[in-house]
Symmetry: C2
Subunit: 346 residues, 2 copies
């Protein structure tokens, strides 16, 4: 049905501003959208000490999807909101696929010279529920000359195989049918061995998908000087974090990069968010580009089976992006949202 029950977490900084535009576009698509807003983030943390109360997490499970703006504020110690709110959502709602398209839209300026839109068209399937993000590790003798701090990457057959399977399916659905594993098997030998063996084994079930392997360092370089190399990429949580920011850079900047934290089995709602952060330096000034959030709304629609609506939003963004190059810039967050909304509605 076209009735969407949506939980909205605007979050911190520019999060509120960009989410407002995302919602505008979502309404314009048509159908019924019921939204409930949750005031999670720095403000609530300062006022109540709460990051993500269990009762709120339980409530969130009842929605069709979650739209999130951005989490993080310099007034909160590093890691508190990230770990206890954003990553807790991803982990507890089992968002094991962090889906991040890297696509250069026509008309968008890239810092890479001589690159055409067809050269940058990939999807990164980033694992979202384990690896170095597990929070495993510890510290001994903190603050002394004998301090030791560890940080552990946890990788399970269960966790790796399911995201690898998702990536193979994704590759099969695209014209090039190419899947590249990005890891660092020559140094992270235990984790790398699990990832490489899993890709090898699952690949036997996908004879039509060409598989490739690339070390994270080389892949990061190829994003810059040979982005054509990639179609679908599967990688772990941290490597995915890094290369999708390089991806954002080459595809026109963080203002355009969308993402979906997907629970493919739908045992809990998936969560859609721009790749960018809360950008406290420009918050409240109408300077943020809401496009990444709007493209995340398109991913949300697609996830809910509304492919036609998703395509309509993506087309509206594409058209807007083409017009931007003709010097039509300097619009506020709201103006960009209004213009894209008008295209979707009209």
């Amino acid at each position: 049905s076209r009735n969407i029950r949506l939980a909205v977490i605007p979050g911190d900084g520019i999060g509120t501003e960009v989410v407002a535009e995302g919602l505008k576009v979502l309404e314009a698509v048509g159908g019924k959208v019921e939204t409930t807003t949750y005031d999670l983030g720095a403000k609530r943390y300062h006022e109540t000490g709460e990051t993500l109360p269990d009762t709120v997490l339980d409530e969130l499970r009842g929605y069709d999807a979650i739209l999130l703006g951005a989490i993080g504020d310099p007034s909160v110690p590093p890691g508190v909101l990230e770990r206890d709110l954003l990553l807790r959502l991803r982990f507890d709602l089992d968002h094991y696929v962090n889906l991040r398209p890297v696509k250069l839209f026509p008309g968008v300026e890239t810092p890479l010279g001589g690159v055409r839109p067809e050269d940058i068209d990939m999807v990164v399937v980033r694992e979202g529920t384990e690896g170095l993000y597990a929070g495993a590790g510890g510290v001994l003798r903190r603050g002394t000359p004998h301090e030791i701090a560890t940080q552990e990457s946890v990788n399970t057959a269960h966790g790796v195989e399911r995201v690898v399977r998702y990536a193979f399916d994704k590759a099969l659905s695209r014209p090039r049918r190419k899947l590249t594993l990005v890891h660092k098997t020559n140094v992270l030998t235990y984790a790398g061995d699990l990832w490489a063996r899993t890709v090898d084994r699952v690949s036997l079930e996908y004879p039509d998908v060409e598989t490739d392997y690339c070390h994270i360092d080389a892949a990061s370089m190829f994003f810059v000087n040979q982005p054509q190399r990639f179609d679908v990429i599967v990688t772990d949580n941290l490597f995915g974090d890094i290369i999708t920011d390089i991806g954002a850079a080459i595809a026109g900047g963080i203002g355009l990069a969308a993402s979906g934290n997907i629970n493919p089995e739908r045992t809990a709602p998936s969560m859609f968010e721009p790749v960018h952060g809360s950008a406290p330096d420009i918050a409240g000034q109408g300077k943020a580009d809401p496009t990444a959030t709007i493209l995340s709304v398109a991913m949300l629609l697609d996830h809910l089976g509304l492919a036609e609506e998703a395509a309509r939003v993506e087309q509206a963004v594409a058209d807007d992006l083409v017009e931007r190059q003709t010097g039509w810039s300097g619009r506020t967050t709201q103006e960009i949202g209004d213009d894209i909304t008008a295209r979707v509605a009209g």
Copy 2:
């Protein structure tokens, strides 16, 4: 004295070819160079099962410096030569500074549009003896659906502080005097806290150095769209591995990226090597660019106190690079080496 006792490890693939050119340039600089070549690498491993015998490691300690080509071959399981040879050298010779300049020479083509040489001029100080490269980790129930593979990043106050101090000194010696810590403190909270606290504390002793912090994902993006941001970067082993490959990409490619594995206290010889790998696909064809190795030789000379000689080699490379843009390409490995050698000698 100008008498250099040098251990040479050409290694695998193009390693042999590029090292030959590096040595040619080194001889041309003048002074006495005594070289001893060690046949470590894939061939020796296959013939004898040896990677780095203890006796060889002990012998290597007696030299003034080591010049290394490249290590790694697809015929050897991933990690064997990397861990037991290359990383063992870095770890056992206490190369705690992995120094990697990222500099766009005039005349060199960068994939970034509209960027000038002065926009890309930084030095990455990568930690070289701990972090995720420690080899810590393990696997349980390998090959079963219940497999778990871990990989641990080990960070010590001792290890972090010494490399941070080196980086502050480096920053102080450069005109901009800016040091950026690159990490992921919001997720790798234990390790990140140690790194951030150490930089904060040591910064008090360097009031003339401006310090900055950047998450690895954002830093990777800024390498592509705001490289001007960076002067000296200090970071851990894995993040350093990744950003220096992005650095190589933006500064004209892996064929130009030099590095030094430095033991600042000189308790063991430092080791100089191009950032690139053994490139088995083009090995033996005279296609490899020896420039990265020649620039590593310049770093070697500088490390041995031969600053004038180092500058001469770097200038010869700079001049060669300017000429390349006038369409003078298609030279073989040996021809490039000969041309740079002629400039150094003449």
